[in-house]
Symmetry: C2
């Protein structure tokens, strides 16, 4: 399936190993939903999403992402007032909402996660600014793996950046160790769940070959 | 395929829509290579990687990632001295090296990319710190989509964070608009291309359900 007129026909067929069904499920046909069907997501499926998302790489295998799944109305009601008003109705219809956060003390686990180079812990901690930049960067990579893993489960992800992160952290992570950076609605798409697809930049605007 | 003893058997079969072949190709069997086969990657395949990676979402559809593919020895020789010494031999064996950068002036394109809300351009630009944080965050999401798209092409990605970004920017992006943040080796894996797989955190260490 060619999704816009700028992609040459047969490019994917000739140059990708990933089959068309998987390609559409994860990349080309999947969409960000604005409302969700009233159908629960089992806890084991939430676990499957994570068990898939945990494998792609992070720098020095630091794995700073942490996930808080809100499944009950009681839990979701603690979040929704802290979302931008334009986002509140989207989350209110989602059977599960994930709060993605990074662990500011992620280097605690370096000796276990990078056993052949445990000194990376002290190397990362030596520069406090770089230490936290690495947390944010690698958690963002993992957030993307997580979004595609939600799609891999046959569900729709609705990521939202518009929320009061400090208020969310006070509510859910009061000890200050975890910092929220993305809210993700999860479920099956509802009725009329998305707008027309938004355009992308042209190939020549993004990519240079030398 | 269960990759570590902490993933319950049959979890993926029961709860994912993505087929096992695609799952292994992108997530569970794919690995980060340290050396590469001496086999070229066609330009059209580099294009297919981007045409796939461009579809998953960014905040407000900002799409700040820019990609510079280095294919020739001449181009690669301009990069390799700026990599951490321990990374230089990895890149030297790669048929293609991508320099991933974000466009510091990405909001130029907002009126075209988000036509129903062109005022987002001024809203993002109003806070210079937030403006650049959004560039870095969304470019990191897109970098992850790009890494999985390399795997979707049947190739191996070797992302490297250890390089002198300021020197790379002076060499390749002298006007200061683009800021490099990740180098990615691309190709088929060479002989003995990877170490034993590194561990991941346990489910209960990462995920909470409430």
């Amino acid at each position: 399936m060619t999704l816009d007129s700028t992609t040459p026909p047969d490019l994917f067929e000739e140059h990708l190993a990933l089959d068309p069904t998987a390609r559409e499920l994860l990349f080309t046909a999947a969409r960000t939903a604005n409302n969700f069907a009233d159908e629960p997501v089992p806890d084991d499926q939430l676990r499957a999403i994570w068990e898939l998302a945990k494998w792609p790489p992070t720098s020095a295998n630091v794995n700073p992402l942490r996930v808080l799944y809100l499944r009950t109305d009681t839990a979701q009601d603690r979040l929704i007032p802290h979302l931008a008003e334009s986002n509140q109705h989207k989350s209110a219809s989602a059977p599960v909402i994930a709060v993605l956060a990074y662990d500011t003390q992620y280097t605690e686990h370096v000796p276990r996660l990078l056993p052949f180079r445990p000194e990376m812990k002290e190397m990362l901690e030596a520069d406090p600014v770089h230490h936290q930049e690495q947390a944010r960067f690698n958690a963002a990579l993992q957030a993307a793996y997580f979004l595609l893993s939600i799609r891999a489960a046959g569900l729709t992800a609705g990521p939202l950046g518009g929320f009061d992160a400090e208020a969310v952290d006070r509510e859910f992570f009061p000890d200050g160790r975890l910092k929220s950076f993305l809210v993700v609605n999860i479920g099956k798409p509802g009725d009329d769940p998305w707008f027309e697809r938004l355009p992308r930049l042209g190939y020549e605007e993004v990519v240079q070959l030398i």
